[in-house]
């Protein structure tokens, strides 16, 4: 049994909404697990069930070998960082950090020691006497983390903690969270709808959709080998291109081109997925793209255009290539990196 074990966990709200369907998942000790998915997919509900803030309708959650279904949140020894930080507005930073310890009946000197250590680690020692309203977004974020760290919990739970920060700070805090987690080594679950955040932070990643874990694996596994249409479309930026197609006798005919000898016995309607970064320009290739718009990011160019049948398509090329609007490009799929999904079920077939 691993450190955190979810077995067939289901959540049905009183109004009948099924938020989480029989989800099973294991998280190892010290692992950084990320739940990623679109809003309303049940990822936060799952996290809140681990925290004890939501009742579990069915299934079991074990933490460190102990069934915690019925255990009160305060007894579970979990710490959570909320989206809006939920700092205690009337307490200064010191008391924000110390409050949980005080409730555990720890003596004053130990509390002071622990708070000071956590403050040093997060570089908030200078603000200990301030109220949360006098702190910037990044500082508040640190205090929220400090409040979690100081209790030395079995598991950290992060509920979209970076979504209230501006873009630059978000990247910085993302890095800090990762560093901190590696330094402290506490098992963590991080919930986000941002796939970049998910990819960068995770040791392992659970892509959740409609209350079901669609795929579980390391970020690279999931990027390289998406098992379903949803995962393929959700992970990767810019999004994977999808084209309608048909397979017959191992030949895939998509919009205006054919791929022969594909590695699949599937026959019928499919979706062909090609990542914008898995394309390169070569004469007389499969795909012909008429360029509408070029986004120059410096390191890369994102080329948006249309195929013959007006289908939108994106191609990512190195930033040193100059591509004019209105140009016709001939694109090749590198190393045959394409993905085929059954159109009806969304399952990967190649």
């Amino acid at each position: 049994m691993s450190f955190l074990d979810l077995k067939n966990v289901t959540k049905i709200y009183p109004n009948g909404t099924k938020a989480v369907h029989e989800t099973s998942l294991s998280v190892d000790e010290g692992e950084f697990m990320v739940f990623v998915g679109p809003s309303g997919c049940g990822k936060s509900t799952l996290l809140r069930m681990v925290a004890g803030l939501e009742d579990i309708t069915e299934g079991d959650i074990n933490l460190d070998g102990k069934l915690i279904n019925e255990i009160d949140p305060s007894e579970r020894d979990v710490a959570m960082v909320f989206q809006n930080y939920a700092l205690y507005p009337h307490m200064n930073v010191y008391n924000n950090l110390a409050y949980g310890l005080k409730n555990r009946g720890i003596d004053k000197e130990t509390i002071e020691q622990k708070v000071n250590d956590a403050a040093k680690l997060l570089q908030i020692s200078d603000y200990l006497q301030r109220k949360p309203s006098m702190l910037s977004g990044g500082q508040r974020q640190r205090v929220a983390m400090g409040r979690a760290i100081v209790r030395n919990p079995k598991i950290f739970l992060f509920d979209e903690p970076l979504s209230n920060l501006d873009a630059k700070l978000r990247i910085q805090m993302r890095l800090e969270i990762k560093k901190l987690q590696q330094k402290v080594g506490v098992t963590s679950i991080f919930v986000t709808h941002d796939q970049v955040e998910a990819m960068t932070l995770a040791d392992r990643l659970a892509v959740i959709n409609n209350g079901i874990i669609e795929q579980l694996g390391t970020p690279i596994e999931i990027y390289d080998n998406p098992k379903s249409l949803f995962v393929a479309g959700f992970i990767g930026s810019p999004q994977m291109n999808f084209l309608d197609g048909n397979i017959k006798n191992k030949t895939l005919s998509a919009e205006g081109f054919e791929i022969k000898d594909i590695d699949s016995d599937f026959e019928g309607e499919v979706k062909l997925g090609i990542r914008p970064e898995h394309l390169s320009q070569r004469e007389n290739s499969l795909i012909n793209l008429k360029v509408d718009l070029v986004e120059q990011l410096g390191s890369d160019n994102l080329v948006y255009g249309r195929l013959k049948d007006k289908k939108d398509f994106c191609y990512r090329c190195p930033g040193n290539l100059t591509i004019e609007k209105g140009a016709d490009l001939s694109l090749n799929i590198e190393n045959n990196k394409y993905y085929i999904f059954d159109k009806s079920t969304g399952k990967r077939v190649n």
């Binding site: 925290a51 004890g52 803030l53 009160d72 949140p73 305060s74 979990v78 710490a79 959570m80 909320f82 989206q83 809006n84 939920a86 205690y88 507005p89 009337h90 409050y99 949980g100 409730n103 555990r104 109220k131 949360p132 309203s133 409040r147 209790r151």
Partner: protein, 283 residues
Amino acid sequence: MKIKPLQIIAHIILILGVLLMVVPIWISFASSSHDSVTILTEGMKFHIGDQLARNYNEVLNEKGGWSEEVTAAKMFINSFIMALGIATLKVVISAMSAYALVYYRFKLAVPIFWLIFITLLVPLEVRIFPSYKIVSDLGLTNSYTGLILPLVASATATFFFRQFYKTIPDELLESAKLDGANAWSFFIDFLVPLSKTMIAAMFIFMFVYGYSQYLWPLIMTTAEEYWTVVMGMKIIYTESYEGVALPRTAERFAYIILSMIPPVLVVVFLQKWFIKGLIQTEK
């Protein structure tokens, strides 16, 4: 800085308003420092006279009432105790019932809230006989408990606290739960400090409400040692006509001035909190 005509007009209006409030009080105060005879013959005074200490001493310490047992000082103490008790209990009970209504999501929360709210339609004056019956059956006539208890439930304050608690984000409760706070400590450590502005405001309102009660103490008390200020006001106005002596006008003014002091003190004392709370608009 250039002063605009509109500002001048605004200031004039404000100054007039202040005068309207302050002048009567000043006249009362100035008149309370003269001889009653002077006031009866010359009218009310704008300047301080030489009878200040004598008048106030007399008002505070002279025994009055039918049995000549109660002094004004005692009445002030009674009213203060009554108002303090009413205000404190009203705030405590309202805050706690609002806490229950907002945070314990039991099925009857909404009907119960409306039931509490409806009591606004039946103030004490309407239910004074049943209330009296209950209090007298409990043997609480002529006691502070009897004076205070029937007045401590407050729909208004419950409503205000409820509205305030509803604005507190759920995450705060959840975060506190994870930090090991139980129902009681969440109330004491979070809701009370967060609503201290509210508490101060409610306390002021309820204190003045309790202090100015007339009918209830009048019915409730037969023993003079439980008489209150507002009842005394009536007595000091009527007593002089019972005898042949002149109306004691100066002492009346002194009594009025004294009766204003406790509520003013409460407002002045709590104002600091009030403003402090207004400046730190955080939640």
